[in-house]
Structures are given as C-alpha cells and as structure tokens.
C-alpha cells in the first residue's frame, strides 16, 4: 500500500511543471491548405499572390513575431459554416474565425460573436481607417463585430490573346457589351473566331456564382428584390430577363457546359475560354500565369467589373471576409492574443490585397503601393459603388444556395426559367418566414 501511495505521489509531482508562458488560441480559416507551397519561415515556393499562400505566411509571421502566442490553425472547407455551426452546437467554437460579412448578422442575432469596439480601442486598432464598405460590412446594430479583411466581388477575367483573335480588342482594351444583344453578338463572334466558349463559369457542384450574377444584374436594373427583410421578389420581369439571357448563352454553347469550379479555373488557365466569371481572389493567381512565358494567359490578361447590360450605373454585388471572435469561455490572455492577432491582420492589409481582394483600410486603398498593383485602378471603385444585400436579411448563405440551385437548373435547361424563378422565390420566402 505504501509503495502504491509513493508511486501516486511521485506521479503527481512529476506531472507538475512550470506554468506555460505561451498562450494558445485556435484560429479557423477558409482559403484552403497549401503548407507544401509555404514551408514554415520561408516565402511561398510558388503562387505567392494566392489567398492560401498569403494567409498562411501572415499567420506564420504573426507566430514568429509573437513567441508568447501559439496559433492552432484549423482550415475549414469553404464557406466554413457547416463546420462552425457544428462546433457551436458542440460548445467548442474556435477563438477567432473567418466569416463573410453577409453572414455576420445571423451570428450577431444569436449572440454568437462578440462586439469588439472596446477591445479595438484598447489596442489602438483604428476603426476609422476602415473603408466605408468594410465598416458597413462589420457593423451590426452600431457595434463593430469583426476585423474586416477584404471586400470582394465577381469580376470578368479576360484572356486578351483570345479576345484579340476574336477582334474584340480596341486600343489595347477589351471590347465589352453594354446590352444583352451586344453580349450575345460578341459571344457569337468570339466563338466563331476561336471555336471556344466566350464565358467560363462553374455550372456543376456550384451555387454561389449564379446567385451573384443575378444579384449584380438585378442591381443593374435598380430592381428592389428584397422589399423587406422577410421577402424576396424573383418572379419578376427583371429576373426573367437575366436568367433567360444566361439560358440562351448556355444553350448556344457560348458558355462551357458541365464544369465544376476547379474545371472552370483550369479551363481559363489553359486558354479554353474568353472570360472567366469569378471573384477578386483569382487576380493574383491569374496574373502570375499571365507573367509566365509560354502559358496561354501570357498573351494578355485583363480584369474588369461586370459590364452593366441594362443601362444602370456601374455597380456590383459585393461581400467581404472578416475575422470575428466567437463567444466562448477564454482567459484574459487568450482574449488579448486574439485582439493582437486582429491588429496584426489590419497591419497586413496590403499583403492580403495582393490576392486581388479590395483593401479594407482606407490608407492602403489610397496608397500608390496598392494602386500600383496590376489591374487595381480598374476595380478599386467597386469598394465604393458595390452593394451588399440589406443588412437585416438573415440566412444569406442559405438564400444563396437556394437561388443558385434553381438558377443552375434553369440555365442548364433542366427546368423552365419561369418555374425556376417561381420556385426560388417560394423557397426563399418559406425559409425567411420560418426564421425565428
């Protein structure tokens, strides 16, 4: 018995050690996994302007400069909310997480993320330096709930070599349409000259892209599609006009069929289409390709906001990424570490804007350093003229899924356009009606 007690005492003493001085916080992010491209302590081996490479390097750099903080990084598949919801349900959300600005009102309404105004003020993180779009995006009911990382939107990424071949270049600039008829005419001209589809866009296993298109072109027509926060109006002439146009583009083979997201990106990189409709985040990767001799994009690459087709002023549906702090038990040291990380991320806004995303810090947006990056002068205005959905509309990701689902069915010809719009409207309104 004595021996047993002695053994237990020794074991207990052995387990005592000096209190660790390192504070560990869990960081959950999207943007993919690329550790193989970014060995710790080294610059990226390739694709240095890619989202994943830059965020990996920024987080590594934070750890290097803050040896008293250890980041436990968890990479969630886009958009990250399935995993986050499950973590909340299990009572174990991360300390800091990336979140789309459009989703923040859902989490605020349930008290799941914390207001950060006081913490930011304490460490001198200046919220007045946020661009208006960024400030609006992270402000809910008068409080700042996140550190805005970027604003983004869908863009037209253009293969200038193929445009030249199709006779759609004037004075070194791509000729873009100003009406649905011009769009169809130019797309047909492009296909006839190159034998390739004019548009590349994920059509399979993809919901977000079609929804963003329809939002942008509804805004182009000044359509009020959310008359209030609990209703959407999609069974309208404005929406029909847009979906029928894309249906016709698809039916005529002017858009590549049956491509998922990776296939559409690969097709654009391999010169298999004229325009890739994808977000700001691909500028860095496409620009790197354009600067690589011998690659299909090296003959020329341009980026433009979506051309307005219905006579409206230049606008676009925009959203953004922010870093937020989920409500959970944490020590004061952990809380301080989260805020230090957010301040560090604010200071690295220029680095992140190299991805193509719009900067969230006003000084960076005005800086010659940012404006000197390729294509930025052509898109920076979207940070001002871009529009989000009304802030009071909840479940924006679920709404995006439903609309994308129905639009994909209509555009690929599996459902009549009018029926798809009717179904989308019914499904979204049913969803909003049942939100508690």
């Amino acid at each position: 018995m004595k021996k047993l007690l002695l053994a237990v005492a020794l074991l207990a003493l052995g387990s005592c050690s000096e209190k660790s001085e390192v504070t560990e916080i869990s960081v959950q992010r999207i943007f993919g996994e690329c550790r193989a491209n970014v060995p710790k302590g080294q610059p990226p081996l390739r694709n240095p302007d890619g989202e994943c490479e830059i965020v990996t390097q920024i987080l590594d750099d934070f750890e290097k400069r803050n040896p008293d903080i250890r980041l436990k990084v968890n990479i969630a598949p886009w958009p990250g909310y399935d995993q986050l919801s499950a973590q909340y349900a299990a009572g174990d959300p991360p300390d800091v997480v990336t979140m789309h600005m459009s989703v923040m009102p859902d989490f605020v309404s349930r008290g799941l993320i914390e207001p950060l105004d006081a913490d930011f003020a304490k460490v001198g993180l200046d919220v007045n330096n946020f661009t208006p779009a960024a400030r609006n995006g992270v402000t809910v009911k008068g409080h700042v709930y996140g550190m805005p990382f970027d604003n983004w939107t869908q863009l037209w990424h253009i293969n200038m070599g193929l445009f030249q071949k199709a006779g759609l270049v004037r004075d070194g600039q791509p000729i873009l349409p100003h009406s649905p008829d011009e769009l169809l005419a130019q797309a047909r001209q492009f296909k006839q000259a190159t034998g390739l589809p004019y548009l590349l866009q994920p059509t399979d296993n993809e919901r977000a892209a079609f929804t963003r298109n329809i939002y942008t072109y509804l805004l182009d027509q000044n359509a009020v599609f959310f008359p209030d926060n609990k209703h959407i109006r999609l069974d309208t002439p404005e929406a029909r006009r847009i979906v029928e146009l894309f249906r016709q583009i698809y039916a005529e083979g002017l858009m590549a069929p049956a491509q998922d997201y990776p296939a559409a990106m690969a097709a654009f990189l391999n010169g298999q289409g004229g325009i890739c409709m994808v977000g700001t985040w691909m500028i860095g990767a496409f620009e790197a390709e354009a600067n690589t001799p011998g690659r299909p994009l090296s003959a020329g690459y341009a980026v433009r906001p979506y051309p307005m087709l219905y006579g409206g002023k230049q606008t676009a549906y925009v959203d953004g990424h922010a870093w937020v702090m989920p409500r959970r038990e944490r020590t004061p040291e952990q809380r301080a570490a989260v805020i230090r990380l957010m301040k560090f991320l604010q200071q690295r806004d220029y680095d992140w804007s190299r991805t193509g995303h719009l900067p969230t810090q006003a000084d960076i947006a005005r800086s010659p350093q940012y404006l000197g990056l390729p294509h930025r002068d052509g898109i920076v205005a979207l940070a001002t003229v871009g529009q989000t959905l009304p802030a009071g509309v909840e479940r924006q990701i679920a709404i995006q899924d439903i609309i994308g689902d129905e639009m994909a069915s209509a555009i690929t010809g599996h459902k009549p356009v009018a029926q798809a719009l009717k179904d989308a409207e019914h499904r979204v309104n049913d969803l909003l009606f049942h939100v508690l």
Binding site: Y81, D82, S85, A86, Y88, A89, D106, S109, R110, L112, T203, D204, N205, E206, R207, A256, P257, A258, Q259, D260, A263, A266, A267, R395, I397, A398, D401, D405, A408, S409, T412, H414, K415, D423, R427, L431, H434, V435, L436
Partner: protein, 292 residues
C-alpha cells in the same frame, strides 16, 4: 440462498452496464430528444416554439423533400441488390486458400478502407465531363463525353456505381466467413453423390448462406438509406436536385438554415422508412425460411 443468487445475477449486469450506459446516452437519448425536437420550430442556436405536427405537414408539401425521398428510394434500389449479389459471387470465387485468391481478396477489400473524401476525389476525376478519365477515353474513341454528373438521369446511377465500388469489401468478407463455416463433410458427401457444381451451390452453399444474405441485405439497406457524403462532395444534390438524398436535405435544413426542428422532423421520417424497410425485409425473408 435464493436471495444470494438473485443478487449475484443483478451484479452480473455490471458487465453490460458500460455498454448500456453508452447506448442509452449516445443512441436512445438523441433519438428521443430528436423526436421531441421535431414538434418544435427551433433555431440551431436560439429560440424554440412548440408547433405540434406542423413540421411534418410542411414536409409533405415540400417538393424538395419529396424529391429527396424519391431519390433515396431510387438509390437504395440501385445499390442494395448489387451489394448483396456481387460480393456473394466474389466470395464464392475467392473462397480458396491459394495466393491469387488472397491477393484478390485484398484488392476487392481495399476500396472499403478509403474515406468518402478520397473515394469522391477519385471518382470525380474519372467521371467529370471536362478532362475526366471516362471522358478522355470516349474522346479518344471519337465519341462525346457522357455527362455522368450533370445529367439528372445519370447522376444517381453514377452515385450508385461509386457506392458499389466503395462498399463491396465488407459484405464480401461476411460471405467469406460464412462460407468457411459450412462443414466440409457435407461437400464431401455431395461429391460422393456425384453432385455437380451448380447443384452443390444451389442445394448446399446458398441455403447455408441464407442468414448471411439476409444480414447483408438488411445491413446494406440501412446503410444506403443514409447516403450523404458522395452527393454532398460531388454534386451538392444537383443537377436539379436529382442527387439530393434525405440526409443531405436534413443537413442543409439543419446546418445551413439552422431550422433544426424541421430537420429533426425529416430525420424522424427517415428513421421510420429505414425501420419499416428493415422489418419488411426481415419478416419476408424469415417467413420464406420457415416455409422452406
């Protein structure tokens, strides 16, 4: 003495207690609480409001849900028969002790150890219309690619092919272990009676395996009604909802819309369907056994 024996019997329950406690906490409690939840309009992280059977009434009017039920039944019909029959043939062929059979047993079982993520990654590369292996082979032969994943009429068949490839291993192993339990002397007697291969199979092997066939069919039925990972990762239920099974519907409603009362109601319907299908199968097969 009697009281002592009784107390000893009760103490024996301690041996099964850990399992029973885990079973009650992890299965029975969630099941009952899910049944209760289905009667509420409930948000994943917030309020709760009693609505009685309204969630069920909503489900029976929800065309997306009804389509997912039809998709699930179609998928079960596509997968359960092959997953009951093909492993049986493989087991009959590979029930030998030579090296070739051992290698093939390993080969056919190997797909079962892969995670759904790897399986879908492999099959996406085979089936995708642009640049997929199947498409490249068709192109090389001068034909157009088959839109396995973007044609509503083909997408569930594609899911079934993927699933059969993935799930063959375990039923094959069950059949093999059952085959090895058939007494050899019966086969020797059959041989002495000059019984042919087919006669032996029909009159000895298959009757001896009948319980395992029932087990495999019921097991596969329960498993395939819960289809989720393959369509979630490859098609997100598309095109036009043609590959959305009930579990994906539950997942979307519960975790994307946070409408967990509605999701719980759909779960109860899935539970009822699986229970009913299993009971029907069980009673039909056991009645056949009794009559034979």
């Amino acid at each position: 003495m009697g009281a002592r024996a009784a107390s000893r019997q009760w103490s024996n329950a301690l041996f099964v207690a850990p399992y029973l406690i885990a079973y009650l906490c992890l299965l029975i409690f969630p099941l009952v609480s899910g049944m209760g939840l289905s009667l509420f309009k409930a948000d994943l992280f917030g309020g709760r409001e009693f609505v009685g059977l309204e969630n069920f009434a909503r489900l029976f009017k929800d065309t997306v849900f009804l389509q997912s039920v039809a998709n699930t039944f179609y998928f079960v019909l596509l997968t359960v028969p092959p997953l009951t029959v093909i492993p049986l043939f493989l087991a009959l062929l590979l029930n030998r002790s030579d090296r070739t059979a051992a290698i093939f047993r390993g080969v056919f079982f190997s797909s079962s150890v892969l995670s759904v993520t790897i399986v879908t990654l492999i099959w996406r590369m085979i089936l995708m219309t642009e640049g997929g292996l199947a498409a490249n082979i068709r192109h090389a032969m001068g034909f157009d690619a088959i839109p396995f994943l973007s044609d509503p009429n083909l997408v569930m068949i594609s899911m079934a092919i993927i699933t059969v490839w993935w799930c063959l291993g375990l039923p094959m192993m069950l059949y093999l272990s059952a085959l090895q339990q058939v007494p050899q002397d019966i086969y020797e007697a059959a041989e002495l009676d000059n019984s042919g291969w087919f006669r032996t199979l029909w009159s000895i092997t298959l009757p001896a395996l009948s319980r395992t066939v029932i087990l495999v069919a019921i097991f596969q039925c329960v498993l395939q009604f819960q289809l989720f990972g393959q369509p979630q990762l490859i098609t997100q239920g598309g095109p036009n909802g043609a590959s959305r099974p009930i579990v994906l519907f539950i997942f979307e409603v519960g975790f994307r819309r946070w409408d967990i009362g509605y999701a719980a109601a759909a779960s109860q319907i899935l539970f009822g369907i699986i229970l009913l299908a299993t009971l029907i199968q069980y009673f039909v097969t056991s009645r056949k056994q009794v009559s034979s």
